[in-house]
Symmetry: C2
Subunit: 278 residues, 2 copies
């Protein structure tokens, strides 16, 4: 019943690579500390921690720890502070810590064993295509590099996905694509436009008929997220981009895979230009 981790080869071994960095403190002593615990009444429960208003404790905790790991505070192989320590640091219960850690384990950022502790997994195991991990990852290096990586990935994926969509889309899927495209053109605000843009590309992925392509949508969302600041408001550019989108829509509608692929390549090249020129 247990999923077959990796290939048959069960060369599973003790975490021999873990560096014994006991009671490891974060690398960079930027010390997140409590960013001024001012307007907080004394004696109240749950004093510090990176509490986020709307979110549950374990979710916030997972975000905080996950971010630190991805950011490189605890390099792969190091042993994290133990559960009691986290519990104390953030003034939360051990259960909350455990649930947070379980979330990070599910994303393959961590693994743990009794008497050893929890250590950071090697980077190539990280599930970088996970929404959260990607978001954390996006904050660490300068945006430039991240955006370039994502954009490169889009070049690999989207042309082919679109070609498949042109071959296999259902009428219903086509309707979604067309509507998103139309709404892009009619959008009043830039935000609304970006929204429709995202829907457009996600709909194409769904229409590709390959289930495995769908989860890559997070990359596109992330790209638009970070592209937003770059986006030019020049009307000419917007019109041009709109035409490129419409070309894609048309070729999918007419079921022309090759033309659709080419159209996507053009759009991506255009986006590349926007990034480069900034």
């Amino acid at each position: 019943m247990l999923p077959n981790r990796g290939v048959a080869l069960d060369s599973f071994r003790k975490p021999a690579f873990v560096k014994r960095m006991r009671d490891a403190k974060p690398n960079k002593e930027k010390s997140p500390k409590k960013p001024a615990a001012a307007d907080r009444p004394v004696g109240v429960r749950r004093p510090d921690a990176a509490r986020i208003p709307g979110a549950s404790v374990h979710t916030s905790l997972a975000s905080e720890i996950g971010l630190r790991i991805v950011r490189g505070d605890y390099p792969p192989g190091t042993i994290l502070p133990n559960e009691a320590k986290w519990s104390e640091t953030f003034s939360v219960s051990r259960s909350a810590v455990r649930e947070a850690i379980k979330m990070l384990m599910a994303k393959s950022l961590l693994a743990s064993r009794p008497k050893i502790g929890s250590w950071v997994e090697p980077k190539e195991r990280w599930n970088l295509l996970d929404r959260d991990v990607l978001a954390w990852y996006a904050t660490s290096p300068d945006r430039e590099v991240f955006l370039k990586t994502v954009q490169e990935f889009r070049h690999i994926i989207e042309p082919e996905a679109t070609a498949f969509a042109a071959m296999r889309r259902t009428d219903e899927q086509m309707a979604e694509i067309s509507q998103a495209c139309r709404e892009m053109g009619e959008a009043a605000s830039l935000q609304e436009r970006t929204r429709a843009d995202t829907r457009f590309h996600l709909a194409i992925l769904r229409a590709s008929g390959n289930d495995l392509l769908v989860p890559l949508g997070v990359l596109i969302e992330s790209a638009f997220d970070h592209l937003f600041t770059y986006t030019t408001r020049a009307v000419d550019d917007l019109n041009h981009a709109q035409k490129l989108h419409e070309a894609i829509e048309k070729n999918i509608r007419l079921q022309r895979p090759d033309a659709a692929r080419a159209a996507v390549r053009k759009l991506l090249a255009n986006t590349d230009g926007v990034i480069r020129s900034r």
Copy 2:
């Protein structure tokens, strides 16, 4: 600090789409039941559940529940039995159930709210490229379809990844690739060979210089996992496949992106043939 879920557009709403299927029972009444609780002494703790010897309780639980979800026992939108129910069903503590559920939430299979319960997320949110989810997914439909999907994905990814590897690989990365290729040729058993084969392809992904390509290695692993049964033992085929691999290795070594890409396409076509002919 909280990762920006999706694009800016916070059209976050109450789970309006959840079907109110209270105390939902699994769809298919295949009733996994306890598959004969024979050789188990009476009165012992933790009687049934899908306990897996080596694994922790919450991990086993997550596997069991995750498999059921992916398999379609609880379609997207349905509300799962509550924590107490699971706890009772599997005779484990509520904490264990919660930790398991947190793992599934981290993979976006579930979400939950107080007073509502936990519901299955829409399929397009599932993190299908996660190791575990992929493994569960691989068990559900017939292998044919799954393999075809994965293979199609490889056609999209690997040629481009290899071209990048040819351009950007370091000497160290090249050494890994070459060694894996060599070990493929020298492998004594089929299993050993598959092992090296996997390493070969993963090394190429790593050498591509695009961090986002690395996590896709799980797909390759999964492919080989399921391809294993198909693998022919005919010496001619093995020799042929080996030559194709060596061609790839050579073109990466000589830094010829286009030739490398073409070589990978050939190899994939060959693999396609193996699948089709079976």
